[in-house]
Amino acid sequence: MKSTYQLIGTAVGDACSDSDEELALRAGTDREAQAQFYLRHREAVFRYLRARCRDEDVALDLTAMSFEKALAALPRYQPGTAGVRAWLLRIARNAATDHDRRRRPFISFWPMNTDQPSDQPGPEEIAITRDEAFRLQVRLLDLPEIQRDALALRYGADLTAGEIGTVIGKSEEATQKLIRRAVARLKEAYRAED
């Protein structure tokens, strides 16, 4: 029997043409499909949790926890109208909410990448981006949690409004309004600084 580490390694190069739903259903019983499921969705889950959390290390911990729960729950997964990405991000959101209840009362700044490949911005551009990142983070923290959450799901995890609505418990239309209001509020915050 292949060890789990070998499954993750060999899953990397497998051409998996399954849809998200097909893969999730296979992953209920197939360990190679579980590895593929994890690899397919890990970036989106991490990006959402990073956008939502105050600490990248916390985001990593919560990402791991989310997949632990998701993989354990996959045998019971039933396709729904919003799809498996919404299902998975709801698990991640619940993990973040539980963590927030116990969070430390300080803000940590997201560190920017230090190992830049050659086609990435140079130091001046990184410095500008650091300032933008800091200001955006502060502005995001001023938003109501549900607006911040919606933006994290939209821009971090790349979910559609319908998927986001399933995660946060709102209709697609209400979610679209929520996102528009959040963006408008950010715009207003920047304008007030000028």
Partner: protein
């Protein structure tokens, strides 16, 4: 300064959709791989000997090609995976090249036999078609050799054989030049541990080496 909605959206997209760093990805993959084991696999009853072997394998990550690779592009990892017979060839070549103290021989242990290699929590040898990471065999052999050299130094130290102790110390001091130290299988926590041993050997302090050997140098010899 962003003043329009599209500019705000572009800023959100640019900053919130940055990919994970390679180190973050590796750390996450390590943890999730461990969780797989806790969630799904039936663990065999572990003997004291197999617990130490687990530590050895965890340190070397021979059976964890993905977790230990330290490569940015996971798809490139497949180029570095080799089947069992090729892995055994690597083990055999390393055993022919890596030096041992005079009078010492390679132990008869699962780590040096690809057909019977045991990864953590595995009770059976790998089936045909399993893959191992190229380079992992050489690192495994060097690790076992290092432990044998540590034992050589300890025996010499405890018996007061200065010449034998100095010969062992010379080899141990060169460990930072080995693949064991420089390969992707290694990381700072591991090399820091080895450096403590090397510092102890060079200063004549046997304690770091004794501790290391007690925890990490039992390979389940038959």
């Amino acid at each position: 300064m962003p003043k329009t909605d599209p500019a705000i959206e572009e800023l959100l997209l640019r900053l919130l959709s940055r990919p994970m760093r390679a180190a973050q990805r590796d750390a996450l993959d390590n943890r999730v791989a461990s969780s797989f084991l806790g969630a799904g696999e039936a663990r065999p009853a572990r003997t004291k000997r197999s617990r130490r072997l687990i530590l050895l394998v965890a340190l070397l990550a021979v059976a964890m090609p993905f977790a230990a690779a330290g490569v940015d592009d996971l798809s490139a990892l497949l180029d570095r995976l080799v089947p069992g017979p090729e892995f055994q060839t690597e083990l055999d070549a390393a055993m022919a090249e890596v030096p041992l103290p005079d009078g010492r021989a390679w132990p008869d242990v699962p780590s040096l036999d690809a057909a019977n290699f045991r990864g953590p929590y595995e009770s059976d040898p790998p089936p045909d078609g399993d893959y191992y990471q190229a380079g992992g065999g050489h690192s495994t052999v060097e690790y076992i050799a290092a432990c044998i050299w540590f034992d050589e130094w300890l025996v010499a130290h405890d018996s007061g054989d200065a010449e034998r102790q100095a010969a062992a110390a010379q080899t141990i001091s060169a460990i930072p030049t080995w693949d064991l130290w420089t390969s992707p299988f290694s990381d700072k926590s591991y090399t820091d541990l080895l450096q403590r041993v090397i510092d102890g050997v060079e200063s004549g302090d046997a304690e770091p080496l004794r501790q290391f050997a007690a925890l990490n140098c039992d390979f389940g010899e038959e």
